[in-house]
């Protein structure tokens, strides 16, 4: 929470970018702009044509037997290109030593504007993942316990005033991945070694210009015979009091993780954009 506090204290003074509020999206588990679970086609921050945006984020997911904490930074340029760096710390209740993973992300907007073009905004991205603590991944039978790369394509569309006068946003992402539990348990496994295509979906309604409620679903591979892996889902409230801050609260259902069933709990995320 000290990171969260320092993000709030940072009291950003630089002018925010020119995009409309909430079009930053929030920060997803691997550091990309998106919903909480899944990357969207939106580019992080508020950078519009010719502008840059820089932000930092802290996320925690606290379920029955595990905690995941994510710290990182993100930058974007020209509402076109996004880069991010995140460190995930996965804590296991009653076990000394976290599993740490670094995720370096890049995303490029290929087409469109989520609000203004008839067709959705479409972006392509990748997430390069490096497992710092790979011993657990090795022990549970991961094919690779060092590095993995996820590739994805996302489409995001805002339908203005479409839900009884409220703006509606949806996102669909298709990800090619070998990651076991985001990569925290390595990449590929004894049951499935190679890449799989998994869909991810989000939808939200903006109750006003800075307050969204929605839900997400993220399918995941199930590569390891030792443990069953489930999809992730959540329902969330995202608040954008201004263009410098986003607070997101969610109730997340992470399913079965490393043999522990029904891992549900609170998801909290804070993103601050300094520029």
């Amino acid at each position: 929470m000290s990171v969260a506090a320092s993000l709030i204290m940072a009291a950003p003074v630089a002018a925010a970018g020119s995009r409309l509020i909430a079009t930053s999206g929030v920060t997803q588990l691997e550091g990309g702009a998106g919903g909480g679970l899944t990357p969207w086609a939106l580019i992080s921050g508020y950078s519009d044509e010719g502008e840059a945006s820089v932000g930092a984020f802290y996320t925690s997911v606290d379920v029955e037997d595990f905690r995941l904490k994510v710290n990182g930074v993100s930058a974007s340029f020209d509402n076109r290109f996004e880069v991010s760096a995140a460190q995930q710390n996965f804590e296991i209740k009653g076990v000394a030593g976290d599993i740490r993973q670094e995720v370096y992300g890049a995303k490029y907007r290929l087409y469109g504007d989520a609000i203004y073009t008839d067709l959705p905004q479409v972006s392509a991205g990748l997430q390069y993942k490096r497992l710092i603590d790979g011993e657990t991944a090795e022990a549970v039978g991961a094919e690779d316990s060092k590095t993995g790369i996820d590739y994805y394509v996302s489409a995001t569309k805002v339908h203005l005033a479409a839900a009884g006068g409220y703006h509606l946003l949806w996102n669909a992402t298709l990800r090619a991945t070998r990651s076991n539990q985001l990569g925290l348990l390595g990449y590929g496994g004894d049951e499935e070694k190679g890449y799989q295509l998994v869909p991810e979906f989000s939808a939200l309604v903006l109750l006003n210009d800075g307050l969204a409620v929605g839900a997400e679903y993220r399918q995941k591979p199930d590569n390891l015979s030792a443990f069953e892996e489930d999809s992730f889902s959540d329902v969330f409230v995202a608040w954008f009091p201004n263009k410098h801050v986003n607070l997101t609260l969610a109730y997340a259902d992470l399913g079965s993780i490393a043999g522990s069933e029904d891992q549900n709990g609170l998801y909290f995320s804070l993103t601050s954009w300094f520029k």
Partner: protein, 142 residues
């Protein structure tokens, strides 16, 4: 608690959305507050523009009384009110201004502030934004 709230909100959103689909041709002019509401919005809008040090430069030398009249006509007509828009086309009005996407968004924000200050309901605000959004290609990069 979250789930229940969520379910409720989605249910409400769905209900109202069905309602709006079945009355898709209805105007929202009355929701904007009719003639008085639209005049308030436009007056606030021009006021917000006049306080924005960058955006105001686009209006230097403009006939503000005429701008007011044409904006009222436009918002009235777009919302289904009893008006005709007698101004120039959006393309002609913005020709040579080379308005950026950021400047366009800034004006959207000024309009949203204007509507907030006029007490315009959120759903009517959103509907006006929806009506005006398709004009963007005729406004930016001209």
């Amino acid at each position: 608690m979250f789930i229940r709230l969520q379910t409720m909100l989605v249910a409400i959103a769905l209900c109202t959305s069905w309602a709006s689909v079945s009355h898709a041709t209805d105007s929202y002019y009355e929701e904007l507050g009719g003639r008085t509401g639209v005049e308030n919005i436009v007056d606030n809008f021009i006021n917000e523009i006049s306080y924005d040090q960058h955006i105001v430069t686009f209006f230097e030398g403009s006939d503000i009384a005429r701008l007011r009249e044409k904006l009222i006509e436009q918002f009235c007509k777009e919302s289904g009110g009893p008006c005709e828009y007698t101004g120039d086309s959006m393309k002609d009005v913005h020709a040579g201004m080379n308005i950026s996407t950021g400047e366009f968004n800034r004006v959207v924000e000024l309009l949203q502030t204007a509507m907030d200050k006029a007490g315009t309901p959120q759903t009517a605000q959103n509907r006006l934004i929806r009506s005006l959004a398709p004009m963007r290609p005729d406004i930016i990069h001209r």
